[in-house]
Symmetry: C2
Subunit: 276 residues, 2 copies
Amino acid sequence: MHQSARDVKRAGKSIAFVPTMGFLHEGHLSLIREARRLADIVVVSMFVNPTQFGPGEDFEAYPRDPARDSELAENEDTDILFIPEKQDLYPPGYETYIIQENLPGHLCGISRPGHFTGVMTIVAKLFNIIKPHYAVFGEKDFQQLAVIRKMVSDLNFDVKIIGSPTVRETDGLAMSSRNKYLSSGQRSSALTLYRALCDAKEMTAKGETRADALIDAAVQTISAAPETSIDYVKICDPDTLEDVAVIDRPVLMGLAVKVGRTRLIDNTILQPGSRG
Amino acid sequence: MHQSARDVKRAGKSIAFVPTMGFLHEGHLSLIREARRLADIVVVSMFVNPTQFGPGEDFEAYPRDPARDSELAENEDTDILFIPEKQDLYPPGYETYIIQENLPGHLCGISRPGHFTGVMTIVAKLFNIIKPHYAVFGEKDFQQLAVIRKMVSDLNFDVKIIGSPTVRETDGLAMSSRNKYLSSGQRSSALTLYRALCDAKEMTAKGETRADALIDAAVQTISAAPETSIDYVKICDPDTLEDVAVIDRPVLMGLAVKVGRTRLIDNTILQPGSRG
């Protein structure tokens, strides 16, 4: 991969990279299409990265379907599918990791300690192997996108990070490989995540500026649905992820909710409304 | 720098990189000459990296002479001198670092916590900016070389790491920018570091295999000199830096000694002798 990346670069061609954990859905395919628009060569990696799963998380159970994934990626005109083995990326004696002091101390990082260290480490490794000019990440994993942007800036990676909008089912549920875990009852409860975000957008558009009022409304909406257990509902600065009390500029509303045993996340940007 | 590195690579030219903290001496120049032999383009960086100095260490006092350094580097036919500013590499809000779990827990890492995190972080940044094919490091900083090799392997940097032999004054003192701190009395005491290493080499060549006997002899030699205070004298595996008790293969003997207020390091490889 090192050598072919070098050859591609020497030929003056550009590379756009989409890192995935496989089990591709329409969200991933939209990232691949974005990559296709950006560069000459599209590289898609599929690797369920063990270092970003905590103890008790679903690393072993994470859904896998490499044959279907390969077909889907090829249908989107992917040039190179990179499917490494765990022992190649993390051989015995592996000991080097990338850490951040602040961003992982918010949102998902609180209930998933070490998760973003695992994410940054695998992304840095893949950047070094694939040497992309562009890398495309979904905005659904908003904190991941913020962490990666900061890592790229701090460590001077010569890679342009592209955020791509969340793709939703027709009923609004954000696409996720983990949606397959949901029973049909849980599937209905899961819709409250998107509903809560839409309500908050409407309230801010109408002039609500108090973050706590917006958060309270969202918590009520989600808690009323069966089998939901809220990890967090937060309104924060989109760059620093620090809490925001008054919505006087575009801010991030992010939430994480367990529906049954499945942890789902979603987010949106809230724009302050024009006050009459 | 990003763009010129890209242009150089696209032209099919190779880059060899020598990272330094400036105040160049014959040791650095030997690294630059090695780089000159390796590649088409030689890049030398000069940057006194704040993140590898601990509280109470000599960051502020570290000797600097950029005008003389530039002249010396140019005399060695350096193509690009890279002299970044601190605020460019570590702007406000900087928060991303590279850590290792094991190697920094030995030798110098014990008395300099965080030192190798600072070293790995700046080297990774410079690799991403300069995009070298080769990077040349002195074997005098043996642990640094081991840490960087491991980082490059673990994080899949596409850079070949070259270790270059320690350059010594005619009396055997390892070249170091910090030697300028030494008074003439301290200068004589400092020679015991090299003497202790030579004695150990001779003892192993004659058949001594017990690490503790070799270490005891070295401690005696160094302690007998005025103004010396030993940080460590260790015999260890050159890759893992784990202590070795019996010399049955080539091992590293490393030592760190304060002479007055100046901390000096030196090392050698001990080869087991042929037993009669």
